[in-house]
Amino acid sequence: MVRNIQEEFTEKLTRALGAEFSLRWERNSKGVVTGWCRLHDHRHITTVALIVASLGGRVITITAYKTKDDQQRDSHEIAYHFDLDGCTCTVTIEVPGDSGKVNSITPILKSADWTERELQELYGIKVVGHPNPKRLFLDDTIDEGIMNDFIPLSIAMQGATSKTLWEKVLAATSQEGEVK
């Protein structure tokens, strides 16, 4: 019998968390199954990580993003993308607004290492218990949580399409005009 990893995952999750989550599976026209799960309590992510590890799964990546909570306040959510034998299951949690801290799953799943470090520095979310929490990409002089800030596009592109560029273009075209 072919092992159905989605069923095993659902069963283990139900046993561990009861009704503390929502989960649905989607199947596309090519037969590829994708899972979407939401945990009611962010602390349960370590339980999910243990289940993924027991099924021989891995972390593909983790996405943090800014969103609005029920009261329209700025908040963060984190989507963990797990691989279960080729099937991608995305597990989403809400980061508590008062502490901004979540538990690290790197001690359970090594494949979460870099991506947890990255979301920590880009969004300023504290990942508690990470074995190597130092900066990954950003220099220490850059403030944590840079992805939460608004930076105008022209500055983000380091002036590549700023006024200076257009001045050069206009200067060049006016010179062409003079030659004629």
Binding site: I60, T63, W114, L136
Partner: protein, 360 residues
Amino acid sequence: MSTYTIPVGPLHVALEEPMYFRVEVEGETIVGLELTAGHVHRGIEYLAMKRNIYQNLTLLERVCSLCSNNHPFTYCMALEKIAGIQIPERAEYLRVIADEIKRIASHLFNIAMLAHIIGFDSLFMHVMELREIVQDIKETIYGNRMDLAANCIGGVRYDLSEEKIKYLARQLDNLKKPLEEITRIYMNNKFVRARTEGVGILPKDEALRYGVVGPVARGSGINNDVRVKSPYAAYDKLKVNVQVETGCDVKARALVRLREIQEAINIIQHCLKEIPDGPTCIDYLPEIPAGEAVAKSEAPRGELIYYLRTNGSDIPERIKWRVPTYMNWEALKVMMPGNKVADIPLIINSIDPCISCTER
């Protein structure tokens, strides 16, 4: 014996891109490794959330040069999932063809670099000459040697005429014999073997623990080819023979790439025979509703994933992608210890690192 620390990089003759390795050695033997990244972090993820979904197609093709086709390809698949777009069948085949051509060129480049690093420069030139055939194919069909601009939302932006199909088939035939010859050298030549066998070992259990992907995983006996595990485009209709080696060393990873080139040629030839007639793209500019999707593809270096959130406007709420090399860096900490200082560039090259891709 006393321990020394050797800095390798961020600028180093054997690395095309900057990465800093702090290597601990005892005599000539490596005992530890620390990595420092971030030298070419360009904030492309941030930029992508400031532009509209159509502009991002162009931006994302520029994340990386060697796997440039996979970025817009996978991004389009994520958008199409959210909008519920079914692309024409001919477009599915054309997407596969573009992707496999890029895979051949990318793998040949890595194979060539291996020869260069071990000082076998005549072999390096030989492989690069072969790669030139693939570069010609790209230039003839797509008008460009690196960024193909083949994908658009709902299909592809190019088509193959009968004449071009004949040309492509002929050029692929020209690749076959020299490729066999090169594969034999990588398998049997005593100098190549002396430098690559038993070097940079990544055992299967460690490969699983670190979650490595692509030829690095397949060189350690893990079959995780996205084309087979979760098929997309026309891969569900094509037979892909996954190339797995169990040597776990630099040589195994090189052989996986060489065999994948052969396999890619077969796949393209099969596509050229089977490709159905019809349109190559949907005939309207789609509106993307609010939603979220993940899309995956097998880039030359392994699994590439895109996660996309939209809110009904044309500016994406969040785009996140994870490139294959991202997962493979930490595994160097397993591959390096026990090897000689002279093997450092060779082992780094064996993961086919793409740094601008990793840091975005």
